[in-house]
């Protein structure tokens, strides 16, 4: 019934609008403006452009300022600060260009609106002008590229040897975390070995795997380099942590990595943001299926001492699940797929 009423109202509205439209046409035919080259609409539109510039521009700058506290994500890593500075610098550069070009566009539209008594200025080209406005953007671009390139090289250089290594494996729809343990080397993992008790598919024939630690939440020390070794076991995921300005795809069959130095502990961030429950959140930002939007992981940055204390308390996965090894003792066959595949995996794990 209500649907019917709504439909009826809409239809009525349509009819009324149509009638207004017809009357308006008849009116303009009657007034004779229908066939004039330029009617008062020209002035109206020209004026609206200026109004749009002022009101729209004002609304934009106001809303930008208004949303700024929410949109600025506090930085918590060394390179994050570079990224942040470079971002605001680039924003300033493009902001200037934005204002100049938009103002000229709408101002010219208004200023040079049609007048019967005027003719446009025949001005087909000016080589000097064109060269100038090719070269200036080229120089500005060159400067931006150069600073971007310098930072990019530093960020993507190999991680320092003493970096804390954390392996992050993406799966539909959560993250799995593994530490290399005392030997500081991650054991092999193979997708064929995955099952409910061994979600990463760790190969316990590999001695290096025996002390590997699996946790539900990442802990990392403040001020020390941290290397994420990133893998996926099904589709592409994307490890994204906005505070650290860290982002790297997790690709099945191709381990990736990203290293950085965290600069603020969770407690410090809680204070800075005024949120006592602050948590560093790991986000998946590459579409990965039904649960993509909820693929959340958490991470804690500790003072180095606290981190060491935490790590010392964590038991290797194998110690917690001793039966796993038995399974491998019974069936050590997985390795038969020929030495070279194993070699390949080792090579990848060493990346």
């Amino acid at each position: 019934m209500i649907t019917l009423a709504i439909l009826f109202t809409l239809a009525l509205l349509g009819v009324i609008l149509y009638l207004i439209f017809r009357i308006q046409i008849l009116g303009s035919v009657y007034r004779g403006t229908y066939n004039k080259r330029v009617s008062t609409s020209n002035k109206v539109n020209a004026t609206l452009f200026v109004v749009f510039l002022i009101v729209g521009g004002g609304a934009f700058f106001w809303s930008f300022q208004d949303a700024k506290p929410e949109m600025t994500v506090p930085v918590a890593s060394v390179h994050g600060a570079w990224v942040n500075d470079m971002f605001w610098l680039t924003m300033a550069v493009i902001g200037i260009v934005f204002v100049i070009t938009q103002v000229l566009l709408f101002y010219y539209s208004y200023k040079y609106q049609f007048r019967e008594d005027k003719t446009a200025y025949y001005y087909p080209h000016n080589n000097k002008l064109e060269i100038i406005w090719t070269i200036i953007p080229a120089i500005v671009m060159a400067m931006l590229v150069f600073s971007g390139w310098k930072a990019w090289t530093k960020i993507t250089n190999p991680a320092p040897a003493d970096a804390v290594v954390v392996e992050i494996t993406g799966k539909q729809f959560n993250w799995l975390f593994r530490y290399p343990g005392k030997d500081n080397a991650l054991g092999l993992a193979k997708h064929t070995l995955i099952d409910a008790s061994n979600e990463i598919g760790i190969d316990f024939n590999d001695k290096k795997a025996h002390d590997d630690i699996i946790v539900n939440e990442i802990h990392i020390p403040k001020g020390r380099p941290v290397l994420f070794r990133i893998r996926s076991r099904d589709v592409i995921h994307d490890v994204y942590q906005p505070n650290f300005r860290v982002q790297m795809h997790a690709v099945p069959g191709m381990p990736t990595k990203f290293w950085f130095v965290p600069t603020k502990t969770t407690a410090e961030m809680a204070e800075e943001t005024g949120n006592p429950d602050f948590k560093y959140e790991l986000v998946c930002s590459q579409i990965c299926g039904r649960g993509h939007f909820a693929m959340r992981g958490t991470l804690v940055v500790d003072e180095p001492e606290d981190y060491e204390a935490w790590l010392a308390k964590e038991q290797p996965f194998l110690e917690k699940n001793p039966d796993l090894l038995a399974k491998f003792k019974n069936a050590p066959v997985q390795v038969v797929t020929a030495g070279n595949e194993k070699g390949k995996i080792e090579e990848k794990a060493a990346l």
């Binding site: 566009l105 049609f114 990019w152 993507t156 994307d238 039904r290 939007f293 959340r296």
Partner: protein, 609 residues
Amino acid sequence: MASTDISLTHDVHHAHDDHDHDHHDQHFIFKYIFSQDHKVIAKQFLITGIIWAFIGGALSTIFRLQLGWPQATYDWLEPILGKWIEGGKLSPEFFLSLVTMHGTIMVFFVLTAGLSGTFSNFLIPLQIGARDMASGFLNMLSYWFFFLSSVIMFLSLFLETGPASAGWTIYPPLSALPQAIPGSGTGMTMWIVSMAFFIVSSLLGSVNYITTVINLRTKGMSMTKLPLTIWAFFLTAVLGVLSFPVLFSCVLLLLFDRSFGTSFYLSEIYVAGEALSNVGGSPILFQHLFWFLGHPEVYIVILPGFGIVSEIIATNARKPIFGYRAMIGSMLGISLLSFIVWAHHMFVSGMNPFLGSVFMFLTLIIAVPSAVKVFNWLATLWRGNIVFTVPMLFSIGFVSLFISGGLTGIILGNSTLDIQFHNTYFVVAHFHLVMASSAFFGLFAGVYHWYPKMFGRMMDDKLGYIHFWLTFIGVYMVFMPMHYVGIAGFPRRYYSWTSFELFSKFADLNMYISLAAVIAWLAQFIFAFNFFYSMFRGRRATQNPWRSTTLEWTTPVNPGHGNWPGAIPTVYRWPYDYSKPGAADDFIPQHIPYSETASSNLPHEKDLA
């Protein structure tokens, strides 16, 4: 250029003229459906494109409802959506398929086929002075392949398991594994088949456009006298011919992986409780192939807009386009560069960071020709005598949106900054302004401008103004705030933002964006009404309603088969002689010889008279 060409085309056209007469009382089916006339084919592309645009828009409206009002229940949509509503909520999988189909439809079906298909077909013969396309038959096939492709894509919307839902970029393994998402079952197969036909359609069209522009220009129409529209369509077609085949290979290999157990893109996967046997494939390979098309594709979408807008701004500012040669040069530069920047979509995909450096460098170079275009448009407005016709409003809107969206490309093109912004709403905001909105504005500008030539009637101005202002304000209200959400790191293709503390602050903003999106979408019905109403009841057009210089306005109001009833006019001058000092009127059409305009000839033109 080549006087031999011209005599050749003349002969051809004689033959054509005779044959014209036998076909004048063609059967309806051949006249309007299996037509080989470029003008009819253009209208077929246009109307199919408009229908697709409304479908694509409707899909986005549904997912914006979900993002704007995540707590609301959508039982009332159940009659339409059936089991996609789970307990009063949209299902997350359905959300993803909406996002995917919205992207696919808009990028390929509306802004590639709808835009190039319409205007390249319609304007190339009319503006270069040809009777029709080089091959009317291939041209007809091009439309019907597009139609077939459309039917397949449309049917896939009704599959039990849903249409493709791995994003319009269909990255495998997600798109290869039905176990990972139901849309990757039959839906994805239909997507691939549909796109294969689409590529065939696009290639047939492009080959035809290129051949026509090269061979069928009328006497005197050298490449440097072509209107910028034609240059734009020509380069668009070249990009299409070079890049679409790569997409074809790309999806073909995906099809093999899906159906025949190959491992081009798959390696070491454990999904749905089972380890797959595929090893050695690389998902990164797919991305390289996809973006090798994907980046040129975004220029395929925008170049026709460049051409249309240049033409309309010059006509309505009553002023020659500033820097005609620089405009051609920048389009050439952009076309060339568009082939060597693709990996800027992959800075953090795990590819070698050194490649990232190279692609950052190449990407930021492409901003220079883009900037030159904007400056030249501004210089064209400067000291003009501007008539704000509806197409002119849309053209100015185009420039504004292109600036706003292009500038953020400079941020994304910097690999260091892309670490923060990749896959966030910042990217969504960037390309919706620079590509989606701009290209749509180019499309609207073109429709309003050439409507009188297409249908012999004018569209209503007042409705056009209302349509323009609602749309212009609407798209800015939708996409500007998306930058804010993006700067905060909000990832794209999220069904809901409530699981993260990081993003939970934006409830109001998301609601506001959704509201603006719905309004902007509704405003398009004004356009639809105006478009179909004016076809039958619009004011009758005069022969040259915009007082324009190009050849299409020398044809009769309703040009018949063959375009010009008599001989094709000869061209003597460039297309931008507006407001030439000393001229009788404020425009001199291209077919007026210098001998008739002694009072306005420039020194170097005296010899040409």
